[in-house]
């Protein structure tokens, strides 16, 4: 009775097996590769113990994913659904950089082969995707993993294996404390919040401040950092903390309350959707106040949308920036995008993807031929990278803060009516 049930279940399983069949050969290699990396570990340990560098130079065991002519790396991030709005330009930026490098012959003769897996912004799929990259595809490193929940969920795997993971598309504070093999680049929102308070107080003479924040990991970290910053500076008060939800369509309450507090500065800690909505509401009630928003909004596409909805008050808006995006500095990116992705936009996410690739390659160049995981990590540990789009990235002394130098820019309008950012301060740290 109901034998068909068993049949179907089994055939479902069989289909599953068939689908995985092609990678079965690979998985027998897994063991070998694991042994290899273990060897590397052992050798490097003994290297530390005996400081016998000469011998290591002769027979370096390359980590998984590295051959004489190529390096396989992986990334996990949303490429479909709502978050594709971030993932698509982001990965375009990353691919643009790697394509450029590969067309120039790669790094030390090795071309870079990037495998991207879509996790649909779901932590469970991110875990499976990460395992596929680490154990099946056997990539050398994870570069530019996108989406905070996914990074957090896969952290265990990355920690357990010790695979280098460079750049996280997200600004959670946890990334900075995840471990030796984690190399955050993008500033975390907590640090940005702190720095924002410094700019608010020092550049805009703020005493009474209202913070409107996106009620999720982005905004809450930013708010906490901001308050801590004021605390350390010993000046200025946050008179209202106003939450806004990611999908809100009505911003009346926040702006009414902000207006009543009569602040010197309003912080808009949110992403494109709610920030442009808040600006429209501010324009509507003609609320004339200095504003600062996060680096996530520091791009032309934000400006294009927000300025149309709030053409007057947007001139009161200041933006944090961690990418030194002058026309000259983004020229290579612009050229590469023109060549490889002529239809894709060039926005903050594209730049982020580009920086992710750039930082990873900087580490590769520093590591030279010593491409074991330990080799790469120790090369990164000595790295202070200043030639990229970001002003300075340093992992020296075990620092994992990512970019800490940021500048404040102001929205201005030129004679032809175009809106643009004008840098007000140097790139600086909180201290």
């Amino acid at each position: 009775m109901k034998k068909w049930l068993m049949l179907i279940l089994l055939s479902v399983l069989l289909v599953g097996l068939v689908a995985c069949g092609d990678s079965e050969d690979a998985s027998s290699d897994t063991n070998d590769a694991e042994n290899n990396t273990e060897n590397v570990d052992n050798e490097n340990n003994s290297e530390d113990a005996s400081e016998n560098n000469a011998e290591v130079e002769e027979d370096i065991e390359l980590a998984q994913g590295v051959t004489d002519s190529s390096i396989k790396i992986g990334s996990v991030g949303a490429q479909s659904g709502v978050f594709a709005a971030i993932g698509t330009p982001y990965y375009a930026g990353m691919d643009a950089y790697f394509n450029t490098i590969n067309d120039q012959g790669g790094v030390n003769g090795r071309t870079i082969d990037l495998i991207k897996i879509d996790d649909e912004f779901m932590p469970d799929k991110a875990v499976s995707a990460m395992e596929e990259l680490v154990y099946d595809e056997e990539v050398f490193a994870i570069v530019g993993q996108l989406g905070t929940p996914g990074v957090m969920a896969t952290m265990n795997t990355v920690q357990d294996e010790g695979i280098p993971s460079v750049y996280f598309g997200g600004g959670a504070k946890e990334f900075t404390e995840a471990g030796e093999n984690f190399f955050p680049v993008q500033p975390n929102y907590y640090y940005e919040g702190k720095l924002m308070s410094k700019f608010a107080v020092e550049e805009l003479d703020a005493e009474n401040i209202v913070v409107i924040y996106r009620n999720d990991d982005v905004g809450i970290d930013g708010l906490e950092g901001f308050k801590e910053g004021l605390n350390e500076l010993g000046t200025g008060t946050v008179s209202e903390e106003l939450a806004v939800n990611a999908a809100d369509t009505d911003f009346t309450v926040q702006i009414q309350k902000a207006k009543e507090a009569d602040p010197d500065v309003v912080i808009l800690y949110g992403l494109l959707g709610e920030t442009s909505g808040l600006l429209k509401e501010i324009e509507k009630v003609d609320f004339n106040v200095d504003m600062i928003t996060t680096y996530s909004n520091a791009d032309a596409s934000f400006l294009a949308i927000a300025s149309q909805g709030a053409p007057n008050v947007i001139k009161n808006l200041h933006v944090m920036g961690w990418v030194d995006a002058t026309e000259e500095s983004i020229a290579p990116l612009a050229t590469a995008m023109e060549e490889y992705f002529p239809d894709a936009p060039l926005n903050a996410y594209t730049m982020a993807g580009w920086v992710a690739a750039e930082t990873f390659v900087a580490g590769l160049e520093a590591a030279g031929d010593n491409l074991s995981w330990d080799g790469y990590i120790s090369a990164m540990n000595d790295l202070t990278f200043t030639e990229g789009l970001a002003p300075e990235i340093s992992y020296e002394d075990g620092s994992r803060e990512g970019v800490t130098h940021m500048a404040l820019s102001k929205v201005v309008q030129d004679d032809e009516g175009n809106f643009m950012f004008e840098q007000m301060t140097d790139f600086m740290e909180f201290e």
Partner: protein, 290 residues
């Protein structure tokens, strides 16, 4: 007082948009018993059409009408291709079809229009009115008026015209309606077309607030369900009232109680109201036959 009135006015404006989207839901539900989860995604698609036309230097009214014409075709195609062939399936299965449609439309929109957000202009761009400190946008008044107008038209059609009688007959009993010579498939087709058009209108009108993107309807769509249920699926006044109440209530709770706990309070109250009025505020209680 100014803040109070400002919150009310804005709530009515936002509520109108919920109501417009909800009217479409209710129309489909009343004729065929199906809840169309894809209403929001279809509206998003139509809004992109308006945007594309507008970007190609068409005047605003042309872009608006273009979106409506597209919605007519879209509603027809969806009903004909996806819903009608599944006529044998039960109602829950049909709801799953509309879940599948969500994925198809959001995926297609990404593939065709890309993942960026776009600004879209308001229908009325005249200067704001200032009534003793309360700022009123002419566009808000326009949106509220449109909503009430459409509600009136639907009400009239359903109550007074032959089409309306046919719709009501179909809703009550498909077989009897057929026997009475009503072309049931035409009625279904029409209700999907009208509902999609209503969605398109809501989409184009809300675009100035949310920007146009593949995610633009997420919140509106959810709230439109709640508006429909709060007001009751049984009438057209119900969802409009429901939409207005949610829009206003959301703001009042946010302003006077807590922005952080707003969602919990509003949804908690929704459940409470439903417990006391199980068929919505305007729903008629009915007795099920054994």
């Amino acid at each position: 007082m100014v803040a109070f009135l400002q919150n009310i006015i804005a709530g009515l404006e936002t509520g109108s948009l919920y109501a417009l989207a909800a009217l479409g839901l209710v129309l489909i539900f009343r004729t065929s018993g199906v809840i169309n989860f894809a209403q929001g995604e279809m509206a998003m698609f139509s809004s992109f059409i308006a945007l594309t036309l507008f970007q190609h230097n068409m005047p605003y009214p042309v872009a608006f009408i273009g979106a409506i014409l597209f919605a007519v075709a879209l509603g027809y195609i969806v009903e004909r291709v996806f819903i009608r062939p599944a006529s044998k399936a039960n109602l829950v299965s049909k709801m799953i079809i509309t879940l599948g449609l969500i994925m198809i439309f959001s995926g297609l929109a990404t593939a065709i229009f890309g993942t960026d957000s776009y600004f879209f202009r308001k229908a009325i761009t005249a200067d704001n009115l200032n009534a003793g400190g309360v700022i009123i946008q002419p566009n808000a008044l326009f949106i509220i008026a449109i909503t009430l107008l459409i509600m009136g038209i639907l009400f009239y059609i359903i109550k007074k015209t032959m089409v309306g009688i046919a719709i009501r007959a179909t809703a009550q009993n498909e077989k009897t309606a057929k026997l009475m010579g009503i072309s049931v498939s035409k009625i279904y087709s029409m209700s999907w077309i009208i509902a999609t058009v209503l969605g398109a209108i809501a989409g184009v009108l809300i675009a100035p607030t949310t920007n146009i993107s593949t995610a633009m309807m997420m919140d509106v769509h959810l709230k439109s369900f709640i508006a429909a249920v709060l007001g009751g699926f049984g009438s057209f006044i119900g969802p409009v009232f429901g939409g207005f109440s949610i829009g206003v209530f959301d703001n009042l709770v946010g302003y006077y109680i807590s922005l952080k706990w707003k969602t919990v309070i509003v949804y908690g109250l929704l459940i409470l109201i439903l417990i006391f009025k199980p068929t919505g505020l305007f729903g008629k209680s009915y007795r099920k036959k054994v």
